[in-house]
């Protein structure tokens, strides 16, 4: 089983460097890429990722997304777009079709059920055939919301371990993963937020997770263009997965 869902903010630190990193993806451990669409108000991201939005936004054009999705398709890795609802709304309904057409598999919309709760189910219904709405939950998501959204969708589920990236709240991993796995039985669940070490990746996988999203941890490598560290990290995960099985 491929464990990794890697998060990149589009265009960070630059089109070129990000493209090089994507070129060096290890397809034996990377399952999906989650691409962050730059915004001026990445409310629910932690300070490290927040910083990347500022940098990327300057010369970002929507068509940049196609660059990455094309590259990833070459590796046979699906691309999911992490996009704030306020960005989506700005662009109108045609944008969803555009995203599907450039090869984006689905959307993660972190603020939808928080700040636009009343529009939430309408938005899900408006998704075109071929574009998935990826439920995004975390420990603060009420049970009723998880049930409703899970029923309306059939894709994998993104479960944030922390209320916000970058924050490091102590939690009991076993309890936290147990909750969601019991609430959406049979669904693929990938966990994210606040994962900092390969050991944590192993721990989460051992608890029955289908995958682990990594984001903040990669930013310094991208920023410093330390592509070797990135490769080494993927190798470590591969080694680790041999043991976990």
């Amino acid at each position: 089983m491929k464990p990794l869902v890697l998060y990149f903010t589009a265009n960070y630190p630059s089109r070129e460097i990000l493209s090089e990193f994507i070129a060096r993806l290890d397809t034996s451990v990377v399952k999906y890429v989650e691409l962050g669409m730059p915004t001026d108000n990445p409310l629910y991201d932690g300070p490290t990722i927040k910083g990347t939005h500022g940098t990327s936004l300057a010369d970002f054009r929507d068509s940049d997304l196609k660059i990455y999705s094309d590259l990833l398709r070459e590796h046979d890795i699906r691309t999911y777009l992490l996009v704030y609802y306020h960005e989506l709304r700005k662009r109108g309904p045609g944008f969803l079709h555009y995203l599907r057409d450039i090869g984006i598999s689905g959307l993660i919309i972190p603020d939808l059920f928080i700040d636009y709760f009343d529009s939430g189910t309408e938005v899900i219904k408006s998704f075109p055939e071929g574009l998935e709405f990826i439920p995004f939950f975390n420990p603060a998501t009420p049970d009723s919301v998880i049930r409703t959204v899970a029923e309306m969708t059939s894709s994998w589920v993104y479960y944030g371990l922390q209320p916000s990236t970058g924050i490091n709240v102590p939690f009991d991993l076993r309890e936290v993963s147990k909750r969601i796995l019991e609430m959406v039985p049979g669904r693929e669940v990938n966990f994210g937020f606040g994962i900092r070490t390969v050991d944590q990746v192993r721990e989460i996988m051992e608890l029955g997770s289908n995958g682990v999203a990594i984001g903040t941890m990669l930013i310094p490598m991208l920023k410093g263009n330390r592509i070797d560290d990135f490769v080494e990290f993927q190798e470590k995960v591969r080694e680790m997965m041999k043991v976990v099985g």
Binding site: P47, I114, F117, S164
Partner: protein
């Protein structure tokens, strides 16, 4: 006989678990966010809060075990607090329904604040720190902190808004009696305090400045910062109020039709109503606020800072703006510009109905309550009583069970009757 029972003071009424409403909310609770990309005030919480508090702040778990030691201290401070039928008030209002009072003024510190001060102090002590720090305005929270830390065997340092420090010598005295160190804020003990004093020598202080000083002091001295209200973990601790009420009502064989409490930061209100909202989803729920601080009726539901100095994170709540300064101060605990995110959300969704009451109505309500029930309630709690009286007057012919949380006694705040 049950009708006049002031309380069922059995140890068994103290619950084994606190209740956290977050997983039962109709919508996801917007998480706290940072002011800017440079300083993470959320990260700051990691460093000043006990880990256990941080965990409870963000947990999805409905029930958190109340540590044995905390349960024992709850008993020591007078829990379970009384739930009693306010027959005197009913007679006075000629009401044919029933009015029940849950009376948090019966705790030894005279308000509900002690319910959260105790676990916070115990968790801090368990981390081996030598003390806790917090701010206080009216003094209720400082008093609770002082007692809780004395019980936990650690020090308490309390930054008290300078003008209150000067005007409320009784409050200062009682905190010192309990062994706490009280510092008028702005003080020279923190960088922030010194910078304020430099700009204005005779600055009267604000709660925001006191929070900033307390947080800075906690950071610099490896102490833990105590949260007085607004935060989820605080509301969770306060759920002991509603959980006890649930058991007490059950013993009385009654179910609530209407729940009423007052809202400052929202902790006594949430702590009282949330367990009951879960058990009795049909109940009407009224949140009483001061006309001078009409957060729900005139505020916006938006992200806003928890404190005016913007030291702590922003949360999504009804707010009049973190720089809002109400004119009058007769109910210090209700001056707060916002309200806990969970309470705010339920106002937004219509589950909770806000009710603004005027100072005059509140003072009348306090007088009526004193004469009919013999209890001098806190000015804050007077709002809940005023809302309850208004409800009765406008629903004369309903025979409802109205349950009111009276969050504190007013023995140290009687100057309001001077006017």
């Amino acid at each position: 006989m049950h009708e006049y029972m002031l309380s069922l003071q059995e140890r068994e009424i103290i619950p084994d678990n606190w209740y956290n409403i977050v997983p039962d909310l109709p919508q996801p609770l917007p998480p706290p966010v940072d002011k800017d990309n440079e300083h993470s005030s959320i990260e700051l919480l990691n460093r000043i809060l006990p880990r256990e508090i941080l965990k409870q702040e963000f947990t999805f778990q409905r029930y958190t075990k109340i540590p044995e030691e905390v349960q024992e201290l709850y008993a020591q401070i007078g829990r379970p607090t009384p739930l009693f039928r306010a027959s005197g008030l009913e007679r006075f209002l000629d009401y044919r329904g029933k009015i029940f009072i849950k009376y948090e003024g019966a705790t030894i510190t005279g308000s509900h604040k002690i319910n959260t001060a105790i676990p916070q102090a115990i968790y801090a002590r368990n981390e081996g720190v030598k003390g806790v720090v917090t701010e206080t305005g009216a003094g209720q929270w400082g008093t609770a902190t002082a007692v809780a830390s004395s019980f936990s065997g650690i020090k308490a340092k309390i930054f008290m808004v300078k003008v209150s420090f000067q005007q409320k010598p009784l409050r200062k005295q009682i905190m010192e009696l309990y062994g706490a160190e009280i510092v008028p804020s702005p003080s020279t003990e923190t960088k922030f305090g010194r910078s304020v004093i430099e700009k204005r020598h005779d600055h009267p202080g604000t709660l925001g400045i006191a929070i900033s000083e307390a947080v800075e002091y906690a950071l610099e001295h490896d102490m833990r910062y105590m949260l007085g209200s607004v935060f989820n973990s605080v509301l969770t601790h306060q759920s002991v109020i509603g959980l006890e009420t649930e058991k007490q009502l059950e013993i009385l064989g009654e179910e609530p039709d209407v729940l009423i409490g007052c809202v400052g930061g929202g902790s006594n209100f949430g702590g009282f109503t949330f367990p009951l909202i879960k058990k009795f989803p049909e109940a009407e729920v009224l949140a009483s606020t001061a006309e001078e601080v009409p957060k729900f009726t005139h505020g916006d539901y938006k992200y806003d800072f928890v404190d005016s100095a913007q030291t702590l994170p922003s949360v999504k709540m009804y707010s009049l703006g973190s720089d809002f300064v109400p004119e009058k101060i007769y109910a210090g605990g209700l001056r707060y510009h916002g309200a806990a995110p969970s309470v705010s959300m339920l106002v937004k969704t219509g589950k909770i109905t806000p009710s603004d009451v005027s100072e005059e109505t509140v003072i009348d309500a306090l007088r009526i309550f004193a004469r009919t029930q013999g209890i001098v309630a806190a000015p804050e709690s007077g709002h809940a009583l005023a809302t309850a009286i208004e409800y009765v007057v406008s629903h004369r012919n309903d025979r409802k069970n109205i349950v009111v949380n009276v969050s504190g006694h007013g023995l140290l705040d009687m100057s309001i009757f001077d006017r």
